[in-house]
């Protein structure tokens, strides 16, 4: 801890509230992305029931122009969320070594959950942005186009990696927001986390079934 015996001008006359605003923004951008990911999975997985349902939903977003607003909007929020949250990521080797040693030494679940979030964040930043780019540069979205992409093979592997990483990040992020902002008390922490884990598993399963559906969809 820094020596406090020196007299320094700490703040301006008005108290600086920037750290709080940035924390709000980090939380809100995270919540928006969580809600988006849940909605995204529900909408895309409609292909399991029928490609025509997925096409109808995609068409709705196309006709209303929502895809042109939400698509780039989500990409921007993704970048914003990364910039805000990355302020907490250890970047120097000194910090990284200290954090690694701490996590390995402690055998503490929540410390590891954070490590997973950091790791997944890096991959999601690149793969998520790639996915958004590929989809938005080939509008309108249709079940056939998605199926063609996935059946190419490479993209199937791509989504096989991206899907669990996103769901893990979203699930852990949701749990950690609830913790950090005091919405979970000591008594209901474990129960909530167990439910959160089940939700994550369900989401990954739905995602995998969706991927398989695309893989087996006949292309006209």
């Amino acid at each position: 801890m820094q020596n406090l015996t020196t007299t320094t001008t700490k703040n301006s006359i008005n108290s600086i509230k920037l750290p709080a605003y940035l924390d709000w923004l980090q939380m809100f951008s995270g919540v928006i992305l969580i809600l988006f990911m849940w909605a995204h999975l529900c909408l895309v997985s409609s292909v399991i029931i029928s490609p025509s349902i997925m096409n109808a939903i995609a068409n709705f977003f196309e006709e209303t122009g929502l895809v042109y607003v939400c698509g780039p909007g989500i990409l921007l929020i993704l970048f914003l969320h990364f910039i805000l949250a990355s302020r907490k990521i250890p970047w120097t080797t000194k910090q990284q070594t200290a954090m690694w040693a701490n996590a390995k030494r402690m055998h503490h679940k929540d410390t590891w959950l954070w490590m997973i979030q950091v790791g997944t964040a890096m991959v999601i930043l690149i793969m998520g942005a790639t996915h958004i780019w590929v989809v938005l540069t080939d509008l309108p979205i249709t079940a056939t186009k998605s199926a063609m992409r996935i059946q190419s093979g490479t993209w199937f592997v791509f989504y096989l990696i991206l899907l669990p990483l996103v769901e893990l990040h979203v699930g852990i992020g949701f749990y950690r927001i609830m913790i950090k902002w005091g919405f979970l008390s000591r008594t209901n922490r474990k129960g909530f986390h167990a439910k959160e884990n089940i939700l994550t598993i369900i989401m990954i399963t739905i995602g995998l079934i969706t991927l398989m559906r695309f893989m087996l969809l006949p292309i006209n």
């Binding site: 709000w24 030494r105 402690m106 929540d110 913790i179 950090k180 979970l184």
Partner: protein, 249 residues
């Protein structure tokens, strides 16, 4: 039949120029109801009188014997060897200044912390030594006591990934300390004054919610709840600040 314990203990004396940090292994037979306090004292009296470690109360009250026990910070006096495997590794608490071996100086760190969060009642009331002490409801006194039970052992700081990465991070003990004053009606500081002390990236907004503090606290102080409440309170105060005057709380 009693177990044979293998204690791997960190050894280093910064004052001794020939000393190099290393792990030294001691073999000890386990006795009934043995704590790490007993084990370490036996090693010191039977095997190596130069081994340095801190103890005072032996009852989990003074907080002096906190150390890293098989990876996690905990109090040695309250740790029974029967709850540990045969192989026990003991390290000094990180973050705090090492005195020697397992002994660290938590005092200087805590002194800085008191100054940083201004850990005293701020009031303009003049003290009258003849007056009766101001009354407080039992319920409130208990609420304050719940967070004020901290023994300042340093476990929450030593287990905190954020504090380990960032030297200036205040840690749960400091934020919990301020939470105690926020509860206390005798403290006349405004929310804005509390904000100026800990509404920073080194304070509550730097907390990443890893909850190691909550999970390693030997006194089970509700740190998770206190940190959550503090974040919400100060974050809302910041929002209040930008609201039009007639909407401000």
């Amino acid at each position: 039949m009693s177990r044979i314990l293998k204690l791997n203990i960190f050894r280093y004396n910064p004052k001794d120029l020939n000393s190099k940090p290393h792990i030294e292994t001691f073999i000890l037979n386990e006795t009934e109801s043995m704590t790490l306090f007993i084990a370490l004292n036996r090693i010191r009296s039977e095997q190596d009188p130069s081994l340095q470690f801190d103890f005072c109360c032996r009852a989990g009250i003074c907080g002096a014997c906190a150390m890293i026990i098989n990876g996690r910070p905990d109090l040695a006096c309250r740790t029974k060897t029967k709850d540990l495997p045969d192989n026990i590794t003991l390290l000094p608490l990180p973050i705090f200044k090492l005195i020697a071996d397992l002994s660290v100086d938590t005092g200087s760190w805590f002194r800085q912390m008191y100054q940083k969060v201004e850990s005293w009642i701020h009031t303009d009331m003049v003290f009258d030594s003849n007056a009766q002490e101001e009354r407080m409801t039992n319920h409130l006194a208990e609420k304050i006591y719940e967070v004020d039970r901290c023994i300042e052992c340093g476990c929450c700081v030593a287990g905190c990934g954020t504090a380990i990465m960032r030297e200036n991070f205040l840690g749960a003990v400091s934020l919990n300390r301020l939470a105690r004053f926020i509860l206390d009606p005798r403290d006349k500081r405004t929310t804005n004054a509390y904000f100026d002390l800990v509404g920073t990236d080194e304070g509550i907004f730097g907390c990443m919610g890893l909850l190691a503090c909550e999970d390693v606290c030997p006194k089970q102080i509700p740190l998770q709840d206190q940190l959550g409440k503090l974040r919400r309170k100060l974050a809302l105060a910041a929002i209040n600040n930008v609201l039009p005057k007639f909407l401000r709380g």
